[in-house]
Symmetry: C2
Subunit: 255 residues, 2 copies
DNA sequence: ACGCTCGTTCGGCATTACCGAATGGCTTTC
DNA sequence: GAAAGCCATTCGGTAATGCCGAACGAGCGT
């Protein structure tokens, strides 16, 4: 048997893995047999779990028969984000920023050194990005990630980099610790961070940090756009606008 | 022991109940002992489950120590709503309707005769409603609920009413089956539904149905506002605007 | 009409999750 | 400042419970 921490419940573990598998499937969902194969357990086991999850609305059955994530998760996700006080306060600010820039805007919070996006507002008529909410992103390839890293000590940054490396997503991705530290110094100096096609070809981001009344960094406001559509405004101009809205959110937090 | 269906997993059942309890708590979360008392199980049992859920990001620990819903649920909820093709298509339409009316707009889908709101866009500068996503609402007290009921046979409506009754939320709530059937006939005739302070004092809703290419009702577009702030526009005018946007969404579905 | 695959049910075995008591760290209270 | 309370956590033992595999029956596709 593989070593499993003592204080973990096998069936709950498997249930969470099932939800993860359904999350990674496309919108047509997965069949019971697919899930059984994916987890390496008997069909009947998966069946019992699915029915249990279904009773709580975490999973739904669609004609096929196939299974997809249920509307109960929409409810829990909505509540989870409203339980983060910052996310609720941020939405109006994100809306205003989306209006002002025409871009998709998001709020990231720092989760153990990684940016996690917890709220988003799509720009008016903008190309719909597949900007997943709630997933941890690479800290070195996103503007919000740089904001978060810039708040840590150099030692901690080195530690994180040592743990997860500096995944190269595009040609422009920062892949050396030296260049990363330089970049973080620049971020601190100018008060905003830029991701210039470092995560996705043709896509740029600009982000600025948000601090609470104790002056601790609690999150980052971020805008995302298509590079070829954004020739009019300079990075510095956009940085100032994002900075201004991030400050407005900070003010709401009592900064 | 209480009779429990054979094909249900106890620990997964309890895990789901724990998430539900955390969802109903305020943003400060619950302690381990609170959860144990709430479920009537040993602290150590709850502990093992919490750690398992935490490992998957479904639960997070905050200083206290207390536990709240985790960011993983934000991710799953976001994916769950994007796996509903209609929700993704609806968001731009909801945005446009929110702009046109200045009101909060939502999309409900029919879940077994009940309306479940799966997407929302807040109106510009509007009072922020606590409009929870993903929860089942009473079909007789919401405009979207009436749209859904109006699509069912009279026999099925009577069946549903017999099951869950007609909960009286305000003085204006429809509480008799006769008046409800009359109201549903009016909804069918005029093509939109109104909730005039029938769910919440001072709050009104207007909704219109959305049909797919097979002409099946798949959801309802709904607007919500404060009655005292909405004197300018008549219900009929608003109904026409909502109807128009619902049709625009139907067109996107290939209707 | 046949065969396949699907979800579903049902016993039986043993793995596993549950409990209760004991531990140590932390904040609170007098 | 010390002690008392509350907290999350660990650890065996027990039996309840979830897991499996095989058999059933419905629904498609051939």
């Amino acid at each position: 048997m593989t070593e499993r921490p003592r204080s973990r419940v096998q069936s709950v573990d498997r249930a969470a893995l099932m939800l993860g598998a359904l999350a990674e499937s496309d919108s047509s969902g997965l069949g019971l047999a697919d899930l059984a194969a994916h987890l390496g357990v008997a069909r009947s086991t998966v069946h019992a779990m699915l029915r249990t999850l279904e009773a709580h609305g975490l999973v739904a059955e669609v004609p096929g028969p196939r299974f997809v994530l249920g509307t109960g998760l929409i409810r829990l996700g909505d509540i989870a984000s409203s339980q983060l006080p910052i996310a609720d306060l941020a939405r109006p600010v994100l809306s205003a920023l989306a209006q002002a820039t025409g871009l998709t805007t998001r709020l990231a919070i720092a989760d153990d050194g990684f940016p996690v996006f917890v709220a988003k507002v799509d720009g008016p008529g903008a190309v719909r990005f597949t900007t997943p909410l709630g997933s941890r992103e690479s800290p070195n390839t996103s503007a919000a990630g740089k904001i978060i890293l810039a708040d840590l000590t150099e030692a901690r940054v080195r530690e994180l980099v040592h743990e997860v490396g500096l995944p190269k997503r595009t040609q422009r991705t920062i892949t050396t610790i030296t260049r990363l530290l330089d970049e973080l110094a620049r971020v601190r100096a100018q008060g905003y961070a830029v991701d210039d096609e470092e995560d996705l070809e043709g896509v740029f981001c600009v982000a600025a940090g948000v601090r609470d009344r104790a002056d601790r960094l609690v999150g980052a406001v971020s805008t995302t756009g298509i590079k070829s559509e954004q020739r009019a405004r300079s990075a510095a101009d956009l940085g100032a606008v994002v900075r201004e809205h991030a400050d407005r959110l900070a003010a709401r937090l009592g900064h």
